[in-house]
Assembly symmetry: C2
Homo-oligomer: 451 residues x 2
């Protein structure tokens, strides 16, 4: 069953490492899944990691390498000879091996590649290195089982036995013509339940969903999700089968994209990794802080216009944070919902109207609730009716405008093919801050004249 | 290849629907994947949807039903007779059918269930309805292929041919004893490449990763992701095989969880759906607005303490939004990164120290950059050195505190088993707003005394 990592377990391992008790360590580790070994590595010092890593056989070592974070993997690779790296790449699936080579310093890449013993594996990897990052080509593996359409089921089984040694997860068999052009797909289930003398062409599915090598990762993920696929063939521009993408790689893409979207919403520019170098983290975060500061400076200019009024009625300044915060919160709520609607397929057409109306409706009701509450609070705690009216009237106005901006900005950005997720978070918050302050002081000037 | 939805295509369909050109519509729709038909439905009026839906055969109709949003599915089901619904459920996988029944009004559930013709399917569905939502039991399907350990490969193939009719996606065969206790797993690949006379027990993998029926969905997703599984067997408390979970359902769980996390970060309480009823949307959003308002009221009280100072130096009020916004932004950035670290497996131990130090370090450098910039700005635009010093010194202090809170709050919540994602967004923003205002006016009082 599942392995559970405990502090005691780590303690025992650490002592065995310190005592160089290699046989004991090997026996402890040999039954573990690579993902669990990787989990253990995070609890050890780097020197300990290196010692344990040397004890693993090439195949396990390669698998563990793939489970590690980029940072730790990089350090570990730097401690290995190019010969040792080549040996481990030889054991990996071609797509994983290509990913690892891509992370190596450029001057080492060719050296490692030339030391891979299996020529076919080396050429597969070299091939995969040509595809741009973020495309189906960079995501696919070259290992697959293909048969010709004129094969019988029995012949096909024979062919599979020959080819399957290289293919660890085989979900389907691909049917091709003599030019490697993809004709159809044959599920292992159909293969098993069909009569041995049946022709492959009779039982294969010719309506195959495929992607091209240059299809973007995100589109690959969408297609596999939409059609519930576990494996997706990749063809070149001539329709020839060149590789296949499995769902586990796509799950990683989905997870990474979700993480990136949350980072974008939190005002962290693209490309920041969790365990990144300090200076990269700083560079990823400072732009949105500066945008926020810019907004703060504009707000200060607007408030500055009302300097005389503040001198006479300083209580107006008390509610600046409340107006700003509520406007920001409403804007983020609306934009988050709109961005999610845009990402799903429920909003293909140009149905901006209903969405806007809905958000404004929700904003209006929430605005009334919030305004009434703060009106009650101000009536009780302050004797200025002008202040109570100013805060409540501007609050509901700000909430309505924030709902509008939170809806309108991502929809407009989407229309102009800009990622609407950029609109959620700092951008909408900053915009709403400025707008909120403007409305608040404008309403204040109007109302204070009246009382 | 993939189907592309165009406005022209929709126009043609709409005309055919208006003209009741049923044969034409059938020919247009019959080759489409259910997901594509669902996509078309979103572009039609509900009356049109109903007309098209009636033209689909039971199997396709059921598949399309599953692809739709809860809202549209609910409306469509309400327009069907219980008999018709039962016919479609009969064609679905048991887990999908159970999900659909769960969405029906309670008084209809038993009626529909009793009208399902296939008794085995009806009993499978009734069985699945017993498991709590959000557990492996509610996610699993009953359809699977199992064989006994003493079978030979040839006998196993025979058994698969018998059982496979019910199982659409068969990735593996489960090996059980006479009490249905799960003993091992046999991949179709190994089955195909093994000699016919081999015993199943010799070629099956006995180290099977399983979950129990009451394992939470999120844990199921983590396990399938961690170990790169496409299918995961579910056992009861006696270790008997009761179902299996496939990766496509888990991809949906991953996607939904990512959406929920973004909603939580945006101050939208759990349970809100994109196309929810208005009052549910309002109820989901108002709590965090009130939290933000509460924070605003506390801020107003703090600023109120400095009323006399504001009367004399109203320029202090100008920078309230800047201080609040920057503190909020920094806090959200830090907490987003911490929450993501906690969600991944790179942070199992109690390594709070290094994380905190890292965030404080990044905060310090960003703080210095922002403070220097705003200092320069204030020196140029204002003649008050006291103001320039107050803003810059409090800004860097606020950024440091915000980094600390953004790191410390989610880590602490995690320690007490509260979802740290709740800390990102409105909570940390509100906390930082209050803290920022406190620091700003405190620094102001101290410094203005000095100049």
């Amino acid at each position: 069953m599942q392995f559970e990592l405990t502090t005691d377990y780590i303690e025992v391992l650490k002592q065995a490492i310190a005592g160089s008790n290699d046989n004991f360590l090997k026996s402890k580790l040999e039954d573990l899944h690579a993902a669990d070994v990787a989990g253990i590595f995070y609890q050890l010092d780097f020197e300990e990691v290196k010692k344990v890593y040397r004890l693993l056989d090439d195949e396990t070592a390669g698998e563990v390498l793939l489970e590690l974070d980029e940072d730790l993997r990089e350090n570990l690779l730097a401690s290995l000879s190019t010969k040792k790296i080549a040996e481990q790449l030889d054991q990996m699936a071609s797509d994983d091996a290509a990913d690892v080579i891509n992370e190596l310093p450029e001057n080492l890449q060719d050296e490692v590649l030339s030391q891979i013993e299996d020529i076919e594996q080396a050429s597969d990897i070299a091939d995969l290195l040509n595809y741009d990052e973020g495309t189906a080509g960079s995501l696919m593996a070259k290992e697959l089982v293909s048969v010709y359409a004129h094969h019988t089921v029995a012949g096909c089984m024979e062919e599979i036995r020959k080819q399957a040694a290289n293919v660890e997860n085989m979900y389907a068999v691909y049917v091709v013509d003599e030019n490697e052009k993809l004709l159809g797909l044959l599920s292992l289930r159909n293969l098993i339940i069909s009569e041995p003398e049946k022709k492959v062409s009779e039982i294969c599915d010719e309506e195959v969903i495929v992607v091209k090598t240059n299809t973007p990762n995100t589109e690959v993920a969408e297609i596999m999700e939409k059609y519930d696929l576990v494996v997706l063939p990749v063809v070149d521009s001539l329709g020839r089968l060149v590789g296949r993408i499995t769902i586990d790689d796509v799950v990683d893409v989905i997870r990474e994209n979700a993480e990136k979207e949350i980072q974008r919403m939190s005002g962290i520019s693209e490309g920041a990794e969790r365990n990144d170098k300090w200076w990269r983290s700083i560079r990823a975060r400072i732009p949105w802080l500066l945008v926020g500061m810019g907004g703060g400076i504009i707000s200060s200019r607007i408030i500055g216009q009302y300097e005389a009024q503040i001198k006479i009625q300083p209580e107006v300044a008390f509610f600046i944070p409340l107006i700003g915060a509520t406007g920001g919160n409403v804007g983020v709520q609306s934009s988050a919902i709109i961005v999610q609607s845009l990402a799903s397929n429920t909003m293909i057409g140009d149905k901006i109207g209903p969405k806007l109306l809905r958000e404004l409706g929700i904003g209006f009701i929430n605005g009334i609730i919030c305004s009434l509450l703060i009106f009650g609070y101000n009536l009780i705690t302050s004797d200025s009716l002008a202040l109570a009216c100013t805060v409540s009237i501007s609050l509901i106005t700000v909430i309505l405008f924030a709902s509008f901006l939170g809806t309108f900005v991502p929809l407009t950005m989407n229309k102009f093919k800009i990622n609407p997720a950029l609109a959620t978070g700092p951008f909408v918050t900053t915009l709403n801050d400025i707008l909120g302050i403007t409305i608040y002081f404008l309403v204040g000037r109007l109302l204070y004249g009246q009382f």
